[in-house]
Symmetry: C2
Subunit: 447 residues, 2 copies
């Protein structure tokens, strides 16, 4: 069998990804700020040999907190506490290039990579929530293209900072009194349109050299950015065809900038409702959907399409004619995904809300463990995915079902590891450790 | 006996506070980025019932890294990993009001307070290292007065953010589907000279309400700032008289702004060289001083006094006539402290370097355990301190000697706890938990 092994991350969302999960009897919304809740989830994923846990983030409060369990722990601290409670699993967290200073972000991720012994990944985003702007002294969220332009320079700066100490800069020679070979610690002297940063970083190079560069953003700009920088890309697709198109496109883009496409893993989200029969699984999904609240779902949908939908009949058709152009929205790829569903399925507004309730646009699959494993295998074998961000509709239980029922099937089919073979996240993902751009090239060394 | 109990923090500096500690055979400089090193130190301090561990910080690499073991883990991540490995001890870390965005800082400290169950303190600084400016797009470090002006507004903003959720805002009512009472979650709509921040914070109010506000900065501006905001102040004094003057002044300033001076604890640093005889302790200090390197010590001293001293005779007198005015320096209080030593003792440059090598200007005491305990008791009884930041010259061993030899004497004298009585850092320090400024006042509630 030539199928390569898949990568699986557990994407942890407080009470699960379904927007009504917190209302279910088995949910634990009171633990949303309890770090042991997240540590325990990570430990379960580690016991199942997942590549990593994954966290989304945005620096603003969701504006519909009345109806949704949101507002909890911040990712850097959450990731650190998880790293401290685990040994092998990777820890990937989202941070924004729009609302951080590169020096501060570089320090924290370098420190996390040190203290986790090389298990950290950075999910790079430009921030989808326009409300963030008002928490950072801006009148408005910068335009999509401007955000990606800043992201580009941001990556240049932090990469230089993470490279600024060569791997062998620390000597700690008690006898001579020389702690560091300062010829191997480099100022970066970056001067650009958005940033001017002298460096060097105030920390030695970390075990992975740099955190693993994960990226989330699938628009035209997002894809070019990912092709240049990303080592893994998290993406949302409703259909196999869309996912295949995306996969082929992103790998081609990587190739066209001179990269080995193997160095850029494509990881769509998948949200599994699992039952002992397909009917049971679908009934479970419906139970969840019945707990959704239109005041919440409509607000989410209205944000995505740029039109206030509250005046429309929930059971009437989606008013395609009034929606704002995707290019005016903050989150191009997700707005497009919603319009694609409308074009394909002509749902009522309520049906569309239910389609998005499970995982905000990611693929929701309701079925038996075999159905779920089949879908995963199909996407993997037909060029749509190198792995998945698993997004349980509810937590903590929803990941247990997946681990107990689906993971064994994937193992039987040779699709998923039974033991970790490496210790770093790069090793789990099959990614090389990058050399410092300031290190002498091998040629120079032998000259 | 009416003596109140003292507060003791362990101030962790990588290999100890003496600048040459890393060159000693018992040092572990290879563990500077190993989180277990810091976790173990915190666990020892916790076993000895210390109030907290404490970390300094600055967002720039020390410019004399060739000769000093510097450049390690970043405080937020280090503090989190320590919180995850301990249960009761407080964790205080330094973050700058000059080089952070208030929304980002507020999130991380709130998250830390949640995940430590109320054990976090923020050491507020405006940053002493002028080099930091060049890592944040600035041509120069803002002037001292400007930094404190920004700090003032920064504190206003983050305090509002930490108060923005009333304590009982989360309902998590599954039945009605209401997660949060949005009447109890407040926008802050701050518009000021430096910041414009809408809020609310995207996290519920934390166990302590806010992190404990610790402050380090003892200039005129620093003192006024502390009088308004600080709940504990970390300060450096060479003599009992100076410490008494400072203590009386800071308590008077707190009173004059309408605060209970008991709510502002004064914690000078103390760096103990402990021997079984005073002569042995002094010999140990000399051994350390013999390992200092003039290239390093002179650079530190030159930075503080604003004059390049490398051309001067090390064994000649300190050239008082050429030093820059304190008001031109970044770190007023420390520059003044150095000039005071010169005025008092007329040391040679080398002698001055040795005076500062142990703890960068904090009081170094070499003596028997009884001598150390006597000094601590004298400062406490004669109105110079509510407690101390203990700064072992070397680590990890230097804190063990203090815990084994000095702490029992303090306990015998009724000066230090034998068991924790509370669970939060506020409780350890005897500080009240602040109410949210947005919460209805008790009057309103009963009206
Ligand atoms: C699968 C996926 C996940 C994302 N997760 C986040 C997130 O956690 N936080 C966030 O601010 N933005 C997130 N984004 C959006 C990014 O911020 C992105 O930089 C921006 O909104 C533009 O997205 P686009 O390139 O798809 O238009 C995500 C995007 C995708 C496709
Ligand atoms: C005891 C003490 C400790 C300090 N620790 C730090 C520190 O860890 N990082 C830092 O940037 N500044 C530190 N500072 C200095 C502060 O940044 C301060 O805001 C600024 O330099 C002005 O200090 P001043 O008010 O004493 O002049 C410290 C100051 C004192 C007095």
């Amino acid at each position: 069998m030539t199928v390569r092994q898949l990568h699986l991350n557990l994407f942890i969302y407080p009470d699960g990804h379904h927007e009504a999960a917190w209302r279910r009897p088995e949910s634990q919304p009171e633990r949303i700020t309890d770090i042991t809740y997240y540590q325990e989830l990570a430990q379960r994923a580690e016991a199942a040999k997942f590549d990593a846990v994954f966290f989304a983030d945005g620096p603003a409060l969701a504006d519909n907190i009345r109806y949704a369990a949101r507002g909890g722990l911040e990712p850097i601290t959450k990731m650190t506490a998880i790293a401290a409670a685990t040994e092998r699993i990777g820890v990937i967290g989202t941070s924004s290039t729009t609302y951080n200073e590169p020096y501060n972000l570089a320090r924290q991720f370098a420190s996390l990579d040190h203290l986790s012994n090389g298990r950290v990944g950075w999910n790079i985003v430009t921030t989808s929530s326009a409300a963030a702007a008002h928490n950072f002294g801006l009148d408005a969220h910068p335009a999509h293209a401007q955000r990606y332009e800043r992201a580009e320079e941001f990556l240049d700066v932090v990469t230089k900072l993470w490279d600024s100490w060569e791997d062998d800069a620390v000597l700690a020679d008690r006898e001579s009194g020389v702690y560091a070979d300062t010829d191997k610690i480099h100022r970066i002297d970056h001067e650009g349109r958005h940033f001017s940063v002298a460096g060097p970083l105030n920390a030695p190079r970390s075990p992975q050299g740099r955190p693993v560069y994960v990226q989330a953003g699938s628009s035209e700009d997002g894809r070019s950015f990912a092709a240049r920088w990303a080592e893994a890309i998290f993406t949302a697709h409703q259909t196999l065809e869309n996912a295949q198109e995306f996969y082929a496109d992103i790998k081609a883009r990587a190739r066209s900038v001179g990269r080995d496409p193997e160095g850029l893993k494509v990881l769509p989200g998948i949200s599994p409702f699992i039952g002992s029969t397909a009917a049971e699984a679908r009934a479970l999904e419906e139970e969840f959907n019945d707990l959704t609240q239109p005041a919440y779902s409509l607000k989410q949908l209205s944000n995505l399409v740029g039109v206030d939908l509250t005046a429309y009949d929930l059971d009437g058709p989606f008013p395609t004619e009034v929606v704002a152009p995707v290019g005016d929205r903050a989150f191009h790829s997700r707005s497009q995904l919603v319009l694609d569903i409308v074009a394909r399925e002509s749902p009522t507004i309520r049906q569309l809300c239910h389609r998005l309730a499970g995982a905000r646009g990611h693929r929701v699959v309701a079925g038996t463990p075999v159905d779920i494993a089949d879908t995963i295998q199909e996407w993997a074998e037909r060029g749509a995915a190198d792995g998945f961000n698993v997004m349980p509709p509810w937590l903590p239980g929803g990941i247990d079902v997946f681990i107990d029922e689906v993971v064994p099937l994937l193992r039987e089919r040779g699709l998923f590891r039974t033991e970790y073979t490496g210790t770093t996240l790069r090793e789990h993902l099959g990614l090389d450790r990058p050399a410092s751009q300031y290190a002498p090239t091998p040629q120079k060394e032998t000259a």
